[in-house]
Symmetry: C2
Subunit: 333 residues, 2 copies
């Protein structure tokens, strides 16, 4: 009983500590004091204030985040593609015949232009090839290994350091206010899950993403799932809303995205009758990150930007709203 | 600041209260003191004891429960089917042509024998008919309305009172010990989710189940999902393991089921190298519930029972292990 009382005392001390911290410290220190930051804080204060019409019980404080371009960059190529390109290179010695095939050749020679001009079905076929025959656990290990070794071509930093610090603060702030944070990504969930908990604090069961089919097998008496080279689901555009219903089964009261592929998910959050947040990250910072929108190959933001302006969604201007992009910038100062 | 300190004090008081309660009170009062109850408690104590080889961090304490036959009965018909039969009856006045079709006729005349002798595709077609064209939110309301009015033919009780009290205690006990409880059911998630939180304390996002396809639409400018009469996924047998990977993305350390359709899910829990729990509910109580196993039309338990005995899974003997079946029995005493 003594140890239980001790635990309780620790809980109260932690609570007091957190309570003091919450009142004293800016929850979004990497955000400049602009209308966007204020819109986030106003939303959180509204839905957490008991006894008011906008109050939302914690169980219903669901927020969904796109990943590529919203939580981490998507240039010069989507991170999941960078991983696949590296896997193809790693497997190439066992496949001399690949050198004769234009798309493989492009990958092996870092010819991204040819890679991106291929049809999406052809690029998806490569994703199938790096998965097929492996168990889900073997594949997760490849991703983990990559996440601690592969470096981003622009910064020379590990990919896992390349997450947007202001968005990490937003995730943390929302969770501290009782929100359940989900990723709903067009990227592959089998690529995101092995490191989402470490980099975002989001557990695997809160990652909805695109995925390949698997097959159940007993290997040496142990049940495993083996990847098939067939796509099961692509969580993009209206299919993000379908994925939200299928996996989460609740309507989010906040959604954050950065491209036309997030438009319907933001429409969903925007359709909530009480307080809600539909937030778009607009890539406006050519110097610290990238500047692109209506004509970009990656994360095109065109129709969703029009709708955001028409409907009054919160559009984050990366250049003006964010003090830093990555946490490592703090250490450099 | 004062109110924050007050909150902290409330937290410590609640914690002390819970701590006393946990040590004083049997967490599974509706379970007789048999080997099965002891197996559950031993498992929970092992995985929660820090600094020992069997310790599992809270984030990895995932447990999956089958629903029909494991958390609530499946006789004389599966609850999801009982709902569909009632929906067909409600819709029948608008469809005079149904009277001429043998399967509809069987449903309208409560001829369950004919209903069950139909091919599963034909029965699934009825499930499509009661969904197609409705939005997911409209359908959820039909389920909610049914859950507060429809009564079980054997007991005359609302279906939502017909949940197994010993299993509710098990769910509560596991959650109190840091487990995250999931349903992984062959039943339709759109039928389970609207009341799973109330009857089991399991939120929608922790319900994995079978489901129909949906289509995104804007209705009066509001995004909705409309059901299509096409099955998307059936979570039964090996596909339960596929569903666990797809939705949860972690290997459960405990799984509870009652039929051959749960065999692979229990194999998965049983393949964990540390402490784990693979639990089968064996329906042995013809008087208080139903007694059935190897030749039953509902929840056939044959191969999984052999494997349970061979591998030493925990087989709950409903008649001997459970003091009561439903909570309302307590009130009757």
């Amino acid at each position: 009983m003594k140890s239980l009382l001790m635990k309780s005392l620790i809980i109260v001390l932690l609570s007091v500590n957190t309570a003091f911290a919450a009142s004293a410290v800016d929850p979004l220190p990497s955000w400049n004091d602009t209308a966007q930051k204020q819109a986030i804080i106003t939303f959180v204060e509204k839905v957490t204030k008991e006894g008011t019409p906008n109050f939302v019980p914690p169980a219903e404080r669901i927020v969904t985040f796109d990943n590529d371009g919203t939580l981490w960059p998507e240039n010069p190529t989507y991170f999941p593609q960078a991983f696949t390109i590296d896997r193809i290179k790693a497997l190439a010695p066992q496949h001399p015949e690949w050198k004769e095939q234009p798309l493989f050749k492009a990958v092996l020679e870092d010819n991204l232009e040819t890679f991106f001009s291929a049809k999406s079905e052809e690029r998806f076929a490569l994703e199938g090839i790096v998965r097929a025959g492996y168990t889900t656990e073997e594949f997760a290990q490849f991703v983990k290994d990559w996440s601690v070794t592969a470096k981003h071509p622009k910064t020379g930093r590990l990919y896992k350091e390349m997450v947007y610090q202001p968005m990490i603060e937003l995730l943390t702030y929302l969770r501290a206010n009782g929100f359940k944070t989900f990723i709903v990504s067009g990227g592959w969930s089998d690529f995101i899950r092995p490191w989402a908990e470490e980099v975002y604090g989001i557990p695997p069961e809160q990652v909805v993403g695109s995925g390949f089919k698997t097959q159940f097998e007993l290997r040496n008496g142990k049940p495993v799932l083996v990847f098939l080279p067939e796509i099961n689901f692509i969580a993009e555009g209206p299919d993000k809303v379908i994925g939200i219903n299928q996996y989460i089964g609740r309507r989010p009261i906040a959604s954050c995205g950065n491209s036309d592929g997030d438009k319907e998910m933001l429409q969903l959050a925007n359709s909530v009758s009480g307080a809600h947040l539909a937030l778009l990250v607009h890539h406006t910072d050519a110097e610290r990150e990238w500047a692109y929108d209506r004509t970009s190959r990656m994360g095109r933001l065109d129709k969703a930007l029009d709708e955001a302006r028409e409907k009054g969604w919160t559009v984050v201007d990366m250049k003006n709203d964010w003090k830093i992009i990555y946490a490592f910038e703090k250490k450099l100062k």
